[in-house]
């Protein structure tokens, strides 16, 4: 009876050790992804170093599904730069071009007006009630680089969350059932 108990003990402990190991591996993968993301945030100085283009307001230059690499430096914003900004009350950031800049002499503050390349009118309609200009602090970053089509994965997962759950479910299943 003793050695049956022993072998059962050893089998149980092996299973626990294996599953603990897989759990830690998963944790490591998630942590490294987070480290890379936060590291990018530090290097580029922007809250969100990569954004996906969601609307057609910058066509034909940027189509839905493209991704933009952002950078933010203390240099003042000038006309022509493609900037990403947030409006109070809206949760998705907007990617448009700066068409007007007024820099105040005394305070150094800049007042900015933006417009999408494909829109007929400037963005005043989009700004918050009573807001006529953007300021440097509203700008999350300037677009410096661009990759086409890569952002479609994010768009599909946002618009049809079922696919996101299926993907995560499949990945989880893969992790649990893989033998090594």
């Amino acid at each position: 009876m003793g050695w049956i108990g022993e072998s059962i003990e050893s089998v149980k402990s092996m299973k626990i050790r294996d599953s603990l190991f897989q759990f830690i591996t998963l944790g490591m993968i998630v942590s490294s992804a987070l480290i890379i993301w936060k590291g990018l945030m530090c290097i580029t100085g922007s809250e969100s170093p990569v954004v996906v283009v969601l609307s057609e307001s910058m066509e034909p230059g940027f189509q839905r599904g493209d991704i933009l690499f952002l950078q933010m430096s203390k240099d003042p914003i000038r006309t022509g730069e493609i900037v990403v900004f947030n409006i109070q009350g809206r949760d998705i950031p907007i990617v448009h071009r700066v068409i007007e800049v007024h820099e105040q002499r005394q305070s150094g503050e800049v007042r900015i007006l933006t417009k999408g390349d494909n829109n007929d009118v400037d963005d005043r309609m989009l700004y918050a009630q009573g807001q006529f200009w953007l300021k440097q602090e509203h700008i999350m970053g300037r677009a410096v680089g661009f990759l086409p089509y890569v952002g479609w994965a994010t768009i599909i997962m946002t618009e049809k969350p079922i696919i996101k759950y299926i993907l995560i479910g499949a990945l989880g299943l893969l992790v649990i059932t893989s033998k090594d």
Binding site: R78, T79, G80, R105
Partner: protein, 167 residues
């Protein structure tokens, strides 16, 4: 070690890495291009020059814009976004940049052009400082690539002046 899953995974990873590398090289090849663009802007007419009810000055101009930007196109260029901005300073603002006109050039053939146009966007000051104002007209261009880093530069043309009185 040789199951379908492993092989598919290895193939996909390799393919994505190669694709990313090609995009990076395509972007780097843009640095080999040495552009030599040229441009001239002429103010043909001051259509009107008024003070708005709120107190801000507004000007309407007709411009003749001539440019040759063909050397900016490379095989990795998707389009060129160009715009003309008026730059000037006022007692209150150290710098004002107002975009007057813009256009998208989709291909090299269209990059050499000469057009007559009135300002697409309204030239409105923050205040009423525009009488006798000296200003620069800059032609900016933004090279939007098929993939990779975006470039921008400009030509500054100075010596323009607004009339002394409202018309």
């Amino acid at each position: 070690m040789h199951s379908f899953g492993y092989r598919a995974n290895a193939l996909l990873t390799f393919a994505v890495t190669i694709l990313a590398l090609m995009c990076a090289i395509a972007s780097l090849s843009d640095n080999l291009n040495t552009p030599s663009p040229s441009a001239q802007i002429e103010i043909l007419n001051i259509n009107w020059f008024q003070k708005q009810p709120h107190g801000n000055d507004e000007v309407s101009l007709t411009l003749n814009i001539t440019a040759d930007l063909q050397s900016l196109f490379t095989w990795n260029t998707k389009q060129l976004f160009i715009f003309v901005a008026a730059e000037y300073e006022t007692p209150k603002n150290a710098l004002n940049q107002v975009s007057l006109w813009d256009a998208i050039i989709p291909a090299k053939e269209f990059a050499k052009f000469s057009i007559h146009t009135s300002n697409k966007y309204r030239f409105i000051d923050q205040g009423h400082n525009l009488r006798s104002k000296e200003f620069n007209l800059t032609l900016h261009w933004h090279v939007m690539p098929k993939t990779g880093k975006m470039f921008a530069n400009k030509i500054v043309m100075s010596g323009y002046r607004l009339p002394e009185d409202y018309r």
